[in-house]
Amino acid sequence: MTGITNLLRKNRTQSITLAALVVLFLLALQGMEPSDWIITVLRGLSVAAVTFLVASGFSLIFGLMDVLNLAHGTLFMIGAYLGWTAYVRPDTLLDLATPFALFIAGLMLAPLWDAGLSRARVAMRAGRVLPWLILALGLGVLAFGLVRYPITAWDASVYDKSPVVFGVQLDLGQTDLPAPLTADRAQVILAMMSVFAGGALVALGLALNAARQRLAAPRVTWRALWLPLSLIVVGVLVYALNDALTAGVVAAGTTWRFCIAVIVATLAGAGLGALMESTLIRPLYARPIYQLMLTLGLGVIGREVVIALWGRTQMQMPKPALFNAMGKGCPAETLWDALINQCATINFMGTRIRTYNEIFIFVVGVIVLIVVWMLLQRTRIGMIIRAGVQDRAMVEALGINVRQVFTFVFALGVGLAALGGVLAGPSMGVSDDMGESLLLAGLIALAIGGLTSFPGAAAGSLLVGLLQQFIVKYGQIGIALPFGAQPFKPTPPLVPASTLLLMVIILLVMPNGLFGRRE
């Protein structure tokens, strides 16, 4: 008990602010029906969860490497598009799986190149330009292979109906996946070999570049060949069984496809993050302004690429079957019934709430919060991250490769944003501008929480999410003000403005945010 009292006394400003906010949200009960209040809180929690997925990655990246990743909103949006594709176009996913596996198999020859190069001592003579030439050649060969490989989605005419509702129609059985492209065997084999060779050449270029500065020759065992070899086999098998696999995935139903979509989008996001950090951000660590320009630019470019690939349309992403049923036993009375009957809605204290939007998203947000918190507190890499936030140079001086940790954290942060995107898909819809409001909300949540604090990101997201939804609700029912006869109805532009106002107030009271460290 004394512990809690002490904690409160020590963090007086925090406690008072938090108490005032809680009172404010409870005061809202006065002006609206209890059922309205509950649904608003639940929606707020759901919005908070999505905001948190963006803000937490943002905060990890900013905390450890001082990079303000302004492309984070775009990466959230890309996650949604990747998820949509994996969800409603499993044929595209499987088409891409083969070249992807072959390219990675080629890249995995890197340790072999390393060993060979240091034995032959060619690296020293290779000079500065040759590695880059080989790298460029590798990418060229990769592109050569990719355009020849039959990928159904490359063909724009496949949607005889609009892509907007394609997912919904596929879900209802009103449409089929487009017929797979056919290609003669010689072309496919050529394409596969080029993609593999592209990966191998890229690996060679990178190995040559790295070998120029290396002292000791790395040892390599023949076991290093197993993984690339098995990847090649998997890639070829996926090609051979493409039709059967596609049919199987479609038949597996939306719940399983949604699981696949979540995994694919998160992993692809993480891979994109790792690639971004290791190629573009890394050279700019000492130059914050250039970093800002770079991430801002990447955000714009990413959005244009998405528009070019998917078109400027808002696409619907049907909810997975587990949260979509309307028939017998729905709306459910208990959570258990909702799961058994796969209900879309559930009756709760006199109001009807949606299982996907208001429950599932929030639950995933809480799970991510716990998992990342455990990762930070209980694992060695988490320990390194916490130490690195304070003093990177000292961590490096202990013999720890901080750059690798940077790449990991960037991948984690972008992966979380992509996860947020794919989760938001079924509730918000998928559109190219969905990332912008999330980026702003995430930034505000971070500023409220104290920039580099992980619990702060959670608390900030919570406040932003709740406030947004309350303003939305007041826009519908109006708020009685002590002056003026008409109830005041906030217009939609006031939603983001209100969160900004909250941020300004909190930063005036606590310049370092709720959980920030005094500098």
């Binding site: 002292l215 320990m383 130490a387 304070q390 961590v395 490096e396 202990l398 013999g399 720890i400 490769n401």
Partner: protein, 234 residues
């Protein structure tokens, strides 16, 4: 090979400032060598240059028979160099145990070195659950040295270990450094000439970014003119 570390005519720039303008330091194996000099002479930068935190533009750094200049800091440290910076760099958000655990290069390092570490600094055992922020200055200094002992380091770079400590603690810290120097080689930066002269066997004087004189501490103690000229102490 009796020299564990050789720094040969190193020039280091920080931004456009030419901080080290020809520093040569030889650290014989198994003894304490101290860098002497006034504030801002370049002693700390010399340590950072060895570790690659401020890489040298020209010159060589040879550790254990191999050139290490131009390597990345974590690779240099992993060769077996422990660093105790003057600002101690205790990780605030980590517990004392985690502050030690993070220095492990292979699992179980801390358990293996526990006797050595807690033998030198018995206080740390009592404080093991506290956070870095909750330690006093002296305790932080002990932890910073202990952290450098967790991995199997052949060389310890210790920067200003007695700065800001109470006289009682200075005595304790000196005892600890003497004890650990029995097992590893130490390159020490020490502002307090009285302390440095009692600890070190060899010395190098750095003046305005250049190493101007080096030798055996016993000889320097007789040469009061040099001491007064470069160090302002007698």
């Amino acid at each position: 090979m009796s020299n564990l570390l050789e720094v040969r005519d190193v020039h280091t720039f920080i931004g456009q400032f030419h901080i080290l303008q020809g520093v040569t330091v030889t650290v014989p194996k198994g003894a304490i060598t101290t860098l002497l000099g006034r504030n801002g002479a370049g002693k700390t930068t010399t340590l950072k240059t060895i570790l690659g935190l401020t890489p040298p533009r020209t010159g060589q750094v040879i550790f254990d028979g191999r050139e290490i200049q131009g390597q990345r800091t974590f690779e240099i440290a992993a060769l077996g160099i422990g660093f105790v910076p003057d600002y101690r760099a205790i990780f605030r958000d980590l517990s004392v145990e985690e502050n030690l655990r993070i220095a492990e290069r292979k699992p179980g390092d801390l358990e293996r070195k526990a006797d050595l570490i807690f033998g030198l600094f018995p206080d740390l055992k009592r404080l093991i659950k506290l956070r870095g922020t909750q330690l006093s200055g002296g305790q932080q200094q002990m932890l910073a040295i202990a952290r450098a002992l967790v991995a199997d380091n052949k060389l310890l770079l210790i920067d200003e270990p007695t700065e800001g400590l109470a006289p009682v603690l200075i005595e304790q810290m000196m005892q600890a450094i003497l004890q650990l120097a029995a097992e590893t080689t130490v390159l020490l930066v020490e502002q307090n000439f009285h302390v440095a002269s009692q600890l070190a066997k060899h010395y190098v004087i750095i003046e305005e970014g250049r190493s101007v004189q080096s030798g055996v501490m016993a000889d320097l103690l007789k040469d009061t003119a040099t001491v007064r000229r470069y160090l302002g102490a007698a």
